[in-house]
Amino acid sequence: MEKVSRYLLVFIAILTLAIILPRLYWMAFEKPVRKPFILYSCINDDFMIHRISEKTWEDTKGQQYTREEYEQKLPMMFLKQLLASGTMPDSVNGVKLDMRDIAREKSFFRLKANEIDAPAPALYPLFESQSGRSMLDLPDDFFRITWRIEFIDAATNMVLEEKSQLFSATLFQYGFSFPAKTISGLATPRKSVDEGYLIVDAKDQLFHLKMIKGKPYVKTINVPEGLKFKYISCVDFKNKDFYAYLFSDKNEIYILTQGDYQFIKWPVDGFEASNCDLKIYGDLFNYTVVIEAKDHIKAIALSSGYHVINTYSETWKLKEEQTEGKIFASLFPALVSMTSDDSKFIRFYFVPSKGWNWVLFNFVLVAFHFIWLYRRKAKLKNHLADLGIVAVSGIFGFIAVHVFPGSLN
């Protein structure tokens, strides 16, 4: 029994050390990656790159610009600055610039991988979409979708039976299969108008639900055969061109047009929702789609009609491929982390080191432990398990078997 308790403690120590030591190592030696800020210029039809740490502004051909020149190449982004300095052009590419048009078409969208793999809220507020008020009010009740849709009054914590029955019956009439798989919407009163929620039901059907004058508005959205969405992110852009960005299980990006509910697939390759961050800058002329991965950045310029105009990408070394990473992989066979950049969930993330360089160091530690036992005249056959633990888990096991030492007999 004592032996079992010792090995269990050794296991706990190995796990703890596999979490703590790599974390301390990377706290000491990790070098930050300065990702460039990339936007497509409607002036010189090229990507403009701002390297923030180097304080340089350039295009993809290496042409260097001053900050002022750079801003003049991106009038849709630096509108206020150009207006202040009196360098805002009257027209671009033959299109006369109107401030209202520019403001209406300007949009920014950001999605991080850890927003997709994250706990969903327990309840959602359903706003009144046509209240007649200039500002939206947070409703008094919140809804959940289980075997039906239920509205719960926040003041009393009681189910509003009449409203729940009305909305449940309407959803049921439209063929909604309870419960919901995902509920996507902008659950905040800080938006220009309310467009309710896009809801995927138990049979992967997509519905649009909102509340108009206290009554349910439900629309069944025809999803092309075989198309499944892993994440839907609703937007509130001034031009009201589309309701949401939708990300399929094949990492395709779609938009859902407003009013006529048409899906338009964007010609964007290289996006992996599980480990990439996405930024989309929209303006009067273009969309710049920026995909940020661990070891590269890819920018895609789309026309306002969603056709690819230009692409640009840069790569850099992963931290595992840098000298610090190689030393890490020689010292540690793996690391365990409770957190991940790609998820908001806490898990035991096990990351084995690349390559087999750590085997050599493990062998040195086994030899060291062997000599230590030999000098103390320990019976070797009683310590084979310890030697095996050190051989497999390396520095973690070596420290663990010495922190919780067995009998030397």
Binding site: M1, A13, A118, A154
Partner: protein, 223 residues
């Protein structure tokens, strides 16, 4: 019959600590719920719900280290007296088997702690159900569960460290144990621990027999 005597001996050691801790825990939960009641009255239920659901408000966060403190208090109350003049050796002379006596002591301490946690967090859950729907309470409990498991782990590790006869190893165990406990307290959004809780439960269960290792070294006069 012998187990009744062991239980009585352990009860005599920890009773005031256990009762005092539980009462303080109840007072803490009472204060927390008064805060919620006050916020409901002044900010309105919908704003409180909204802040919890979408703005990251973890209203139960004052409970974060309550169970950790409980585990450490009970471990010290139960095992520190045993190290004074090596009194635990008297228990080892009982006609029960050394490990059996230890596991009895340990089970009693863990069950006492469990009862205390059930009272404190049961009260918390019950009051929460007045103000929040069951889903929000479940999400809160998923977030609280690792903190409760940390309480048990702290108790098991505390016993291990206190019974360890050698100061240097006490320091090593404290270091490893302290770092181990940090995995229960990683800052995260509400219910983020849901995939990890089963693993943390297994690790806590593993730690429950860790005491035997220190006791073994204590008995043998190791080092």
């Amino acid at each position: 019959m012998m187990w009744k005597l062991v239980v009585y001996k352990e009860w005599l050691k920890i009773r005031w600590f256990l009762v005092g801790y539980t009462l303080l825990g109840i007072l803490g939960v009472g204060y927390l719920l008064l805060t919620v009641k006050h916020d409901f009255a002044f900010s309105g239920g919908k704003n409180i719900w909204n802040s919890i659901l979408f703005l990251g408000n973890q209203f139960f966060s004052p409970l974060k280290y309550v169970s950790l403190a409980g585990g450490l208090i009970i471990a010290i109350a139960q095992y520190f007296p045993e190290t004074v003049n090596k009194r635990i050796k008297l228990s080892f002379h009982l006609p029960l088997g050394e490990n059996k006596v230890l596991l009895m002591m340990h089970t009693f301490g863990a069950v006492s702690l469990l009862l205390s946690f059930v009272i404190i967090f049961g009260l918390f859950s019950g009051f929460c159900l007045i103000y929040f729907p069951v889903q929000m309470v479940i999400y809160s409990l998923i977030t609280i569960l690792p903190w409760v498991l940390a309480g048990f782990s702290a108790y098991f590790l505390g016993a291990l460290i206190i019974l360890e006869p050698h100061w240097m190893f006490r320091f090593y165990y404290s270091l490893v144990g302290g770092f181990f406990l940090t995995i229960f307290f990683v800052p995260a959004v509400t219910s983020a621990y849901s995939p990890a809780n089963s693993g943390l439960f297994v690790l806590t269960a593993i730690l429950s027999i860790a005491l035997l290792f220190s006791a073994y070294r204590f008995r043998k006069g190791e080092m």
